[in-house]
Amino acid sequence: MSLANQAVKQEAGYGMNSPLLSGLLEQISEQDYHEIMDVVPANQGVIDLFSRFRCKLYLPGCLDALRKLDSQVLDTPTKRQRALVKTIGLYKNKKASLDVILLWDLPNYLDKTILSSLVEYLLPHIRKQTLIHCYIHTRQSMPAVPGNYRYIDGKVYVHHPQAETITCPAYYQEVLHRMMAPFTVQRSILLSNGLQEYVLHTR
């Protein structure tokens, strides 16, 4: 077993500090109203996390569906946007105006075209201050499927449902900028487990 594979296996089910996410959550005022989207499957942990805020929480539960989108099949912008409308939908709420978008490690599992289309799809729903939070794997391999993430008492608990690994696309900042334009990196930290934590904003 390669060192990279060993490292990934050690990652299965653990808690980690996520300073940028903690900072981002601290920035959410408990007095003001916010709209937040989280792409992980809806769970009580997410609801508990945001229940202290005055917010509307969008839980499109679209992780698996987004991963299945194939830019070879969806070979035009129109086809991709239609697929994204069907997948995310924002549930008939065309007025959704998102302050925070939590992608966790989803960007690692989308092909570049689909990721760009996703950002494009979200553009009508973002504001000048909208922030995107995500993790990018930086090692040679990464878990075969996105992890289940839960934020509890200042720590992020990660569980990888499968032990298998796949080659990591290892997106660097420049690539991320291209794929996620108009979002650019506001802050970034390399975590000890090889995840690069990002907060992106629009300039």
Partner: protein, 174 residues
């Protein structure tokens, strides 16, 4: 010689026995079709839409409701509880005090007290309620608003003051 009086008594007795058996069977069926608490609620006076019943239209009333069948339209039971049991399939917006989903719902919910989606629940829609419980295994796609915008301080405030302007010096070098 035929004793008509005796025959009438025998028939009457058999009918009573049959009716008693029917009532016992119905109670047993009803108890089996609900789970614990819900069954108790039903016995204490909730209205029930049976598994074979299909309703299209508006449902309103002044008592708790248990849905085992199919409903399409709107459900308004303000101050009362709505339970969609495992076999229930509902395509409707629901306005009630407490909403419990064990079956399938496609529609928006407004719960004055709380919304509970049980592990067998499957929901596509938006929730407005002060408390929301999502049991492990439950499927939910939509939005949750625990304190609607109108109840919150009006307007939105940028949430970036101390985040903006930070550099990216901690970036991993490519």
């Amino acid at each position: 010689m035929i004793d008509m009086k005796q025959i009438k008594e025998n028939v009457s007795s058999k009918i009573k026995n049959y009716q008693a058996q029917e009532e016992t069977d119905f109670t047993a069926r009803e108890a089996r079709s609900f789970s614990g608490k819900t069954a108790t609620e039903n016995r204490t006076g909730s209205a029930s839409i049976g598994a074979s019943i299909r309703i299209k239209g508006d449902v309103t009333g002044d008592e708790n409701l248990i849905i085992q069948g199919q409903v399409e339209g709107t459900i308004r039971l303000q101050g009362h509880n709505v339970t969609i049991s495992k076999s229930g399939k509902v395509k409707a917006n629901i306005d009630a005090n407490q909403i419990i989903i064990e079956g399938t719902l496609e529609g928006d919910m407004h719960g004055d007290e709380k919304v509970i989606i049980r592990e067998t629940g499957h929901v596509l829609g938006n929730i407005v309620a002060p408390r929301v419980t999502l049991e492990d295994g439950a499927m939910f796609k939509g939005s949750i608003e625990m304190e609607p915008r109108s109840a919150a301080t009006p307007g939105k405030k940028p949430m970036t003051p101390s985040m903006t302007g930070k550099d990216t010096s901690e970036l991993k070098s490519a």
